[in-house]
């Protein structure tokens, strides 16, 4: 199956989440992968190492994750759709250059198959412990986009979506999956390539002399020239003006740039955010969940309904930017909210902030076993 010179393997497959992610990247047009082996994301690198040369793409195994993300930013600036994949320890090493990608508005995709931390933690065990790091891991103020798949099919679909969002907003986009989803095998339907929506970065429409690499359009996103296209532009991690010139002491330039980098995501949250709602219309108790925890939550909501509990599920596909407005609306109607997470309570803080006075209860899980549906049903009864 992996022996194929096609980028899009149209058909029905039985794949692991990691493999589906790699296939999604290829289908999205990814032609550069820079990575470093790490459990439980290694299978993505292995698949890319095999598949990319088959379709004329580039795989390189760098000396560490710092180098991986640096190479990916470089490849993106040289015009390729580029990706890296890692897990917690590698994600930590990437943080400084994630800031560089934000500052220089490099479209790229970072996959984090979350395992148990802190530190080396439990390499082969699941976790959802990098959720806050994804949002706040690099220094400074910024916005990124992070999606949380909950099935192998979504590992394929959302990887494509990550590339499309990265290209639309010129921002690093993260696919935050957990070890269970990464290593789980399920059916994947890969559609014909002409049925897959592909978005490419917008290019400058002005001649090189008039091109300002960081001058935004109305959507706050600047068109992107790439190296070698004759625009001869400069990009820097320093605060810069629209021409890319460093502005290291100017208050107006610092304010303007940082506000725009945040603003291009914040003003577009409605088009970015994706959720899945299950029997929310009349729900008294709402489970807000993402990733593997949302699978148990779905089962729990179905079970609860058969037992006469008015339960609903808000499954977050987009976790950053956080769907604050939506959670606030749901909280107005619900009597209680339950947040099952495989950490000590991370996204629950965002839910609490949005839910205001509605009681929010965290169901925390650490280690090998994810939440069981019965545990979530019990929590509903307690509320």
């Amino acid at each position: 199956m992996a022996k194929n010179n096609k980028a899009v393997l149209t058909g029905t497959h039985f794949l692991s989440g990691d493999l589906a992610c790699a296939e999604g990247a290829l289908a999205a047009g990814c032609r550069f992968f820079g990575g470093y082996p790490i459990t439980p994301a290694t299978e993505i690198a292995e698949r890319m190492a095999r598949r990319l040369p088959q379709i004329g793409g580039i795989y390189i195994q760098m000396e560490d994750e710092i180098a991986s993300i640096a190479a990916v930013i470089g490849a993106s600036y040289a015009g390729k759709k580029a990706m890296t994949a890692t897990s917690g320890p590698g994600f930590s090493l990437m943080q400084e250059n994630i800031g560089l990608a934000v500052m220089t508005e490099a479209p790229l995709v970072i996959v984090d198959i979350m395992r148990g931390g802190p530190s080396t933690g439990q390499p082969t065990m699941p976790g959802q412990q990098d959720v806050m790091q994804a949002k706040w891991g690099s220094h400074g103020d910024y916005e990124i986009i992070a999606l949380a798949p909950s099935s192998v099919q979504e590992m394929f679909d959302l990887t494509i979506e990550c590339f499309n969002l990265a290209e639309t907003f010129r921002v690093p986009v993260m696919l935050l999956a957990d070890e269970i989803i990464g290593h789980m095998w399920e059916r994947v339907e890969i559609p014909p390539s002409n049925e897959i929506t592909i978005i490419n970065r917008k290019k400058p429409v002005v001649p090189p002399r008039e091109y300002h690499p960081f001058q935004p359009d109305d959507d706050l996103v600047p068109p992107m020239a790439c190296f070698g296209e004759g625009y001869r532009f400069h990009a820097t991690g320093l605060t810069h003006d629209e021409k890319g010139a460093p502005k290291t002491v100017s208050i107006p330039e610092q304010t303007k740039l940082v506000k725009r980098l945040c603003g291009k995501i914040r003003t577009n949250t409605d088009t970015i955010i994706q959720v899945k709602e299950v029997t929310l219309e009349d729900a008294d108790v709402v489970v807000v969940a993402y990733g593997i925890a949302s699978r148990a939550a779905l089962s729990a909501v179905r079970k609860a309904r058969t037992q006469g509990i008015k339960a609903g599920l808000l499954r977050l596909i987009t976790i950053w930017p956080f769907p604050e407005k939506l959670v606030a609306q749901i909280a107005e109607q619900a009597k209680a909210i339950i947040v099952p997470e495989m950490n000590c309570g991370q996204l629950v803080r965002e839910v609490e902030r949005a839910a205001k006075t509605t009681p929010v209860s965290l169901l925390s899980k650490l280690g090998e076993e994810p939440h069981r549906p019965s545990e979530i049903v019990e929590a509903m009864r307690r509320m």
């Binding site: 760098m62 560490d64 180098a67 930013i73 490849a75 040289a78 400084e96």
Partner: protein, 285 residues
């Protein structure tokens, strides 16, 4: 005559982003000589400027990328080489040059340097070696000589410095040369050679740091440092890089490595072509 008029008359003006001038470097700093040599090399080779990318890390010389009128990128500290690796592999048509400092390339970025050299990625590294971290005010770094005074070696440096050309040779570079900012013609010739050669190249440029390192270590004015360069520089051909240590009394300069070896990009393209050919063969069976 004001600065702007001077600039307009400069024969290399078209290679610079003139609106970024004046540069941030101190009077007497070697960075200007290094940059000038690079621009002259570009001029003499008449390379298509649209196909050149200059990438730098952090530090005084790191600003060079912003001054050159080609595609350029100023990365995070130490990461110019892996960024350049991504650029070169993604678009092999580009000539990719890293211009950065000794601290950036060999302390925080040291691991990237040895691995890019090992892979023989086709990038040209021009290193301004001023023996210290100048931008942060003169701390010791991976090239600071033993006993030297810096703000973080107030009792004298007790760490042994790297011999950069030896490191490059041992790591797999196909070209390694060292000059001081005094030997401008030889420096330019080296840059031209590296630009025309396939594979990973290092050109080390020993450079005065008159306001910081040279002052702390009582080496005198920039002119006096240049005189010192003249006094102690020994040009050799194919000298053993392992023995090319730098001391107060002797700086061995010259070309230390000049060999041929297929670059990473070439091997990658050959492998990819073979994989595709094999697959097509299998599919038509």
């Amino acid at each position: 005559m004001n600065n702007k008029d001077l600039m307009l008359q400069h024969p290399l003006a078209k290679y610079l982003r003139q609106e970024r001038m004046p540069h941030i470097w101190c009077e007497g700093c070697g960075n200007g000589i290094l940059l000038n040599s690079f621009l002259e090399a570009l001029d003499e080779l008449q390379l298509d400027l649209d196909n050149i990318v200059v990438i730098s890390g952090i530090g005084c010389i790191g600003r060079a990328a912003g001054y050159v009128n080609v595609d350029s990128f100023h990365t995070t500290h130490g990461r110019a080489i892996p960024f350049a690796t991504g650029v070169k592999l993604a678009n092999p048509q580009l000539k990719v040059v890293v211009i950065s400092g000794d601290g950036d390339l060999f302390a925080i970025g040291g691991n990237h340097f040895i691995h890019a050299a090992r892979r023989n990625v086709d990038i040209k590294v021009i290193c301004a070696n001023n023996f210290n971290y100048g931008m942060t005010g003169g701390q010791y770094g991976p090239t600071t000589p033993l006993e030297a005074w810096t703000t973080t070696t107030p009792y004298g440096n007790i760490e042994h410095p790297f011999n950069l050309v030896h490191l490059a040779a041992a790591s797999g570079a196909v070209y390694a040369a060292r000059w001081t900012t005094l030997q401008v013609r030889r420096l330019k010739a080296s840059i031209k050679k590296a630009l025309q050669k396939e594979g990973f190249s290092l050109i080390e440029v020993i450079s005065p740091c008159p306001e910081i390192y040279d002052r702390y270590n009582k080496l005198g004015t920039a002119v006096e440092v240049m005189k010192w360069f003249k006094l102690v520089s020994e040009v050799h051909k194919a000298y053993d890089p392992a023995k090319a240590v730098i001391t107060k009394n002797r700086i061995i300069i010259g070309e230390f490595v000049d060999i041929e070896k297929p670059s990473y990009g070439r091997l990658l393209r050959e492998m990819t072509a073979q994989v595709k050919e094999d697959l097509e063969g299998e599919n038509t069976k």
